[in-house]
């Protein structure tokens, strides 16, 4: 689970800082031209165990062009492998944070990644065991299981703390930002970035509404 360990700038600091709050709205509209869907039954076996978390919890809101000076807070996180899925599917961490991958299924799992930001393979291990890894490069790290080809998760590694995952209603609040103009992004693994420009002011919080056209569940078909 994501543990936000940011300095809460509620009081006035040396630098002028502003709050950014908002709401993420998921739509089911699909841009682009998809492939024809399959008429054959899927060969995966994890269909009947959908992710425990609603789709909104797979969205990450972050400031794209934020600069951060000074030491970056780190955290310890967990990406559970259960019912042949990664839980959660999406994780957002600061650079230098550690993620552990415990196996909660009664069979072997594996974790590997081909991503530039974290190319690794943790090998296969059985239930109850765990492996962990420190992510030292910012970027998108896609992790997969080498045994179950339908399993995937995404870890977003940031070199700043200005990111969050909305609550079940889609509401979010970013850590206080230095005033200025920014690009705020709503990201989803299937959609990529949906961004807009915002202006962060010290006097009043900036309210943002992000629309992310994520196909939900079977509606994709």
């Amino acid at each position: 689970m994501l543990v936000l360990a940011v300095s809460a700038p509620n009081g006035q600091t040396d630098l002028a800082a502003g709050r950014v709050t908002g709401r993420v709205k998921l739509t089911t509209k699909i841009p682009g031209k998809p492939l024809p869907s399959t008429a054959y039954p899927r060969r995966t076996i994890g269909d009947h165990h959908p992710s425990a978390l609603p789709e909104i919890r797979n969205v990450v809101v972050y400031i794209k062009d934020a600069l951060h000076k000074g030491p970056l807070p780190t955290s310890r996180n967990e990406l559970l492998q259960e019912h042949e899925t990664f839980i959660p599917r999406t994780l957002a961490i600061t650079r230098g944070s550690v993620v552990s991958f415990p196996n909660g299924d009664p069979f072997f799992h594996n974790v590997f990644s081909l991503s530039r930001a974290g190319n690794f393979n943790l090998g296969r291990y059985q239930r109850g065991q765990t492996r962990e890894r420190e992510f030292t490069k910012a970027g998108i790290v896609k992790v997969y299981c080498d045994i179950h080809s339908h399993m995937s998760a995404t870890i977003l590694v940031f070199d700043h703390p200005y990111f969050t995952i909305p609550d079940l209603e889609g509401a979010f609040e970013l850590p206080a930002l230095p005033t200025g103009e920014y690009t705020i992004v709503g990201w989803h693994e299937r959609v990529g970035e949906r961004s807009m420009r915002i202006r962060v002011e010290a006097e009043r919080p900036t309210s943002v509404e992000l629309v992310v056209p994520v196909p939900v569940g079977d509606e994709y078909e």
């Binding site: 492939l35 008429a39 896609k142 045994i147």
Partner: protein, 554 residues
């Protein structure tokens, strides 16, 4: 020979009729057969092709369910906005490696990985180079085949450069999410057409966008087919290609691409015709040889015996021989019955003939007797001459047939005297020259009489020439020596002997020995010596030696 000809002509006519009927019916039958063959080819092809596509797909799906491939594709797409080309090159290399693996396990011309926008990210297989990276693939698919069972909805045709590919699409899913697709591509080229041709045993033409892209037809036929069919793309039909009638049928249509199976009606009918002709020729040869054997047998059992019979009949007819009998041939019951009937008929004809002859002979004999009776002195003369002549014949060992001729001839020898008036014939004294001339006409008159009765013709020489003398002093022709027929010589001697031994009005009868003496005296001049000798031998109790030197003349 005639029988053989008839048999041959019959067989030939029969074969001709059969041939025409066969020709007429065969073309239609062959055409129907070709069409139905194409239909079954189509069904078979559809079934096999569906099955094959499913096999390919299921295999490709298994191979596509590859964590590394999916991870590489997914990661590649997640980093597509980054400009870190090195990392992406690594991913593409990973993709290529996995694809090579898949290609080695699936029988296809190319295995292609495409992203969600149908852009090729990698390809492997023999024709991978037709699928360059980053090139969008335009897949023409059947949109009509709907429903979950419509496996064809995934089938598409893609043109990459000069090559047309048939594509089976396998979706790549990551959980619920579609991340790309795997294309299993089969090149629709000449090799493919050849393969289909051999499988279906029909000509194949693959038509796409109005052009024949691959075919096993001849180039000329392909061009004609293209102009006739490619645009309208009918389901089936019959068209002339390169001078031959072809039936064609659409095997399967994918988008704008249609697979056609074609069969030449003419080619098939030629084959069938050849078979039929061979069979007919065999039947014909068999029939002709059967006819040959049959006619030979017929000739043996019917024609030849009939010919023999007719020859015998002709001989019999020519010789007026009604007495001889036809031999039984034994070749067939009918023929033998016929022969027997004929023989029976001939027997009765013979009897009738004999009766007729007897009647004739009796009549003539009665005439001769009557003639003899005109003069009491000559009564019984003809009978006696006949007996004497037969006796002479016996002495000369003549065959029975000739003796018979002589016997009747002797009986009739003076028949011509019917034309001699009584006063001349019965004149007691010497005859005048004119009277003797009348007498001398009687052989000629007798011969003329006999000529009117055909069966008496053998006796004519006897009647006509029984007054000729070896020295040529006789009448009517004055023949000499050997020119006088034997029968006439015999009757001449017998006649003279009987005349001498019979009484006449002007003289008494001479004794036999004296008469014989007289004959001997004239042997060689008036009579033939050997006949006189035969008479001498024939007369019992009359011993008369020929005078010295008399017998040597003859």
């Amino acid at each position: 020979m005639k029988t053989l000809t008839v048999a041959f002509v019959t067989v030939a006519a029969l074969l001709g009729v059969v041939f025409i009927v066969v020709i007429l019916s065969m073309r239609n039958q062959v055409r129907d057969a070709v069409v139905s063959n194409l239909e079954s080819t189509q069904r078979l092809f559809a079934a096999v092709e569906t099955r094959r596509q499913q096999d390919v797909r299921s295999r490709a799906e298994t191979l596509a369910d590859n964590p590394t491939l999916k991870a590489a594709l997914d990661t590649y797409q997640s980093e597509v906005q980054d400009d870190a080309t090195a990392s992406r090159a690594d991913l593409l290399e990973t993709i290529d490696l996995v694809l090579e693996n898949v290609a080695a396990r699936v029988d296809s011309d190319a295995i292609v990985l495409v992203d969600l926008h149908h852009i090729a990210l990698g390809a492997a297989g023999p024709m991978a180079n037709r699928w360059p990276r980053s090139r969008p693939v335009s897949l023409v698919a059947n949109r009509t085949a709907a429903g979950p069972s419509g496996a064809d909805s995934f089938d598409g045709v893609a043109r990459m450069g000069d090559n047309l590919f048939r594509v089976v699409t396998v979706p790549l899913l990551l959980g619920d999410t579609l991340i790309g697709g795997l294309y299993v591509a089969t090149s629709l080229d000449q090799d493919y057409a050849q393969e289909l041709d051999q499988l279906a045993r029909t000509r194949i033409a693959i038509v796409s966008d109005g052009l024949v892209v691959a075919t096993t037809l001849s180039p000329r036929a392909a061009l004609q087919f293209e102009s006739a069919v490619a645009v309208t793309q009918p389901v089936d039909g019959v068209i002339p290609l390169d001078g031959e009638s072809h039936a064609f049928r659409r095997l399967v249509a994918v988008g704008n691409t249609v697979f056609y199976a074609l069969g030449s009606v003419d080619e098939s009918s030629r084959q069938a015709m050849r078979d039929a002709m061979r069979n007919l020729a065999l039947i014909g040869m068999f029939g002709i040889s059967l006819a040959g054997v049959g006619s030979f047998w017929l000739a043996q059992t019917l024609s030849d015996p009939i010919k023999r019979l007719s020859t015998s009949l002709a001989t019999m007819a020519a010789s007026h021989d009604v007495s001889s009998r036809l031999p039984l041939t034994g070749s067939s019951l009918e023929l033998d019955t016929l022969t027997e009937t004929f023989n029976a008929l001939m027997a009765s004809v013979g009897e009738a003939e004999a009766e007729t002859q007897a009647a004739y002979t009796g009549a003539i004999r009665a005439l001769a007797t009557a003639l003899d009776a005109r003069d009491p002195y000559t009564a019984g003369h003809s009978d006696r001459v006949s007996v004497l002549a037969v006796a002479i014949c016996r002495q000369l060992n003549l065959p029975a047939g000739e003796i018979e001729v002589v016997r009747l001839g002797a009986l009739l020898h003076d028949i011509g005297k019917i034309g001699v008036p009584d006063d001349v014939l019965r004149k007691p004294g010497a005859l005048s020259a004119a009277e003797f001339d009348i007498i001398k006409q009687h052989p000629t008159v007798g011969a003329r009489m006999l000529r009117s009765v055909p069966f008496l013709s053998p006796h004519i020489p006897i009647v006509e020439l029984h007054h000729e003398r070896p020295d040529g002093g006789g009448y009517p022709n004055g023949l000499r020596g050997d020119d006088i027929p034997l029968g006439a010589r015999i009757v001449h001697v017998a006649d003279a002997y009987d005349a001498m031994t019979s009484a006449r009005a002007y003289r008494n009868a001479r004794p036999p020995a004296e008469a014989l003496q007289e004959l001997w005296r004239c042997a060689g001049t008036g009579f033939h010596a050997e006949i006189v000798a035969a008479l001498a031998n024939a007369l019992p109790g009359v011993t008369s030696e020929p005078p010295q030197g008399g017998a040597s003349r003859g």
